[in-house]
Amino acid sequence: MPVGDYSIFSVMKEALRGHTGWGPAWRDAEPKPAYDIVIIGGGGHGLATAYYLAKEYKAARIAVVEKGWIGGGNVGRNTTIVRSNYMLPGNIPFYELSMKLWEGLEQDINYNAMVSQRGVLNLYHSDGQRDAFARRGNSMRLHGVDCELLDADAVRKMVPFLDFENARFPVHGGLLQRRGGTVRHDAVAWGYARAADRHGVDIIQNCEVTAFRFENDHVVGIETSRGYIGAGKVGISVAGNSSRVAAMAGMKLPIESHVLQAFVTESIKPFIDGVVTFGAGHFYISQSDKGGLVFGGDLDGYNSYAQRGNMPVVEDVCEGGMALMPRIGRVRLLRSWGRHHGYVDGRQPVHRSHPHQGSLFQWRVVLRRLQGDASGGHVFRASDCTR
């Protein structure tokens, strides 16, 4: 049975009882014959969508079907960064909505997602890059998003150990979004799953979709490894598997699946308190609360479903790190992992309806962005009810 609200009192009570009273955070639901809405894909976007839908339409019967287990996919395979430091008009409101949702998320879903607004600092290394960052910063501020352009001295106060006088890429300053930061990515999945479950959403794990069933051009249900499930509407948010699922519905997408690697080192004492990105290569780093340095860089750059990358990119990312902060050179790499996700030119989410006119079939293809999880769910929910 799901437990009640988490609070300091429930933690104290359980401490006295030897933590014997905690139940599962959500039900391991069995599929029912039919739902009003079925979301395919139990990642960050799918769970957030289900949660906001359930919150909005209290009476609706909603299910999330996931082929693996909750937290086993891309939502746990990123570098935990959340930010809204984008430049273009369509982008900024989307990610800023997400940022605002992150800010109130833990109270909203009653779950500690370890949202930490520790600041995201993008470094610039030349006059030209400074101009570009000033433009980005102005664009953000025009949209009401916080940001500050720092000179080298201000950056030095924050992160004194950078290689400021690097012969090729001296650090001239940075663009800082203080409201950006990190979240515990697994907790995002678990928190949304628990919150959706508490609103009556069935989360069905180990349930792989194998086909869609259509009647008169309307989707009426899905065939799964756990049997047929009827559905009034179907939402899809399956990241790198989008093309496979789309093919079952007879659609071809402007998407290719790529692999992006991320890395974590052994734990060290507090070293970097925010997120720092290198502007002359592709390298971004933060430190987890456990002490490991978490960092990443470029895509591997070829199509892949393998969820692992290759050595040249590992080397390139580590070189970027060494160019920026040589003192991490003695830290040992613990592990690296890859996530595969759909890519489209422009690198943004694709919202698509099924081409069949009048079909109650909403489409969402989701890409790399953890920071879009909250607003992605929100917007998908919105597009569903305003369709």
């Binding site: 989008s242 093309s243 496979r244 093919a247 071809k252 997408l253 402007p254 998407i255 290719e256 699946s257 750059g301 070829y302 199509n303 892949s304 479903y305 393998a306 692992r308 290759n310 050595m311 040249p312 080397e315 759909g342 489209v344 030119d345």
Partner: protein
């Protein structure tokens, strides 16, 4: 991943640049449906796990364009051909069927 270049032998992928799907061909600009065909040519991909024919360029080697057949689910490389040979064979087939 290592690619067995027909000219240079087996080399690491850091010597190569990736150019994507090798199965699409540039549509006829004068076709009445050219717009839709170009959209499909530029963007729409099957993107299904399994063998994938793709173009690689041996930039740090012999500068040969290659058509590599690679299983994108496992990264296993199944075959490597010269893109020139592939194109010539495709043109010969097109003429033969015309």
């Amino acid at each position: 991943m290592r690619i067995n270049c027909p000219c240079c032998g087996e080399r690491g992928i850091d010597e190569f640049s990736y150019y994507g799907d090798a199965t699409v061909t540039r549509p006829d600009l004068t076709s009445p449906t050219a717009m839709a065909e170009f959209v499909a040519y530029a963007f729409e991909r099957a993107n299904i796990p399994g063998p994938h024919r793709e173009l690689w360029y041996h930039a740090a080697g012999c500068h040969l364009w290659l058509v590599v057949t690679r299983n994108i689910a496992t990264h296993e490389i199944l075959s490597v051909e010269s893109a020139r040979d592939v194109a010539l064979a495709r043109n010969a087939n097109a003429k033969g069927s015309a």
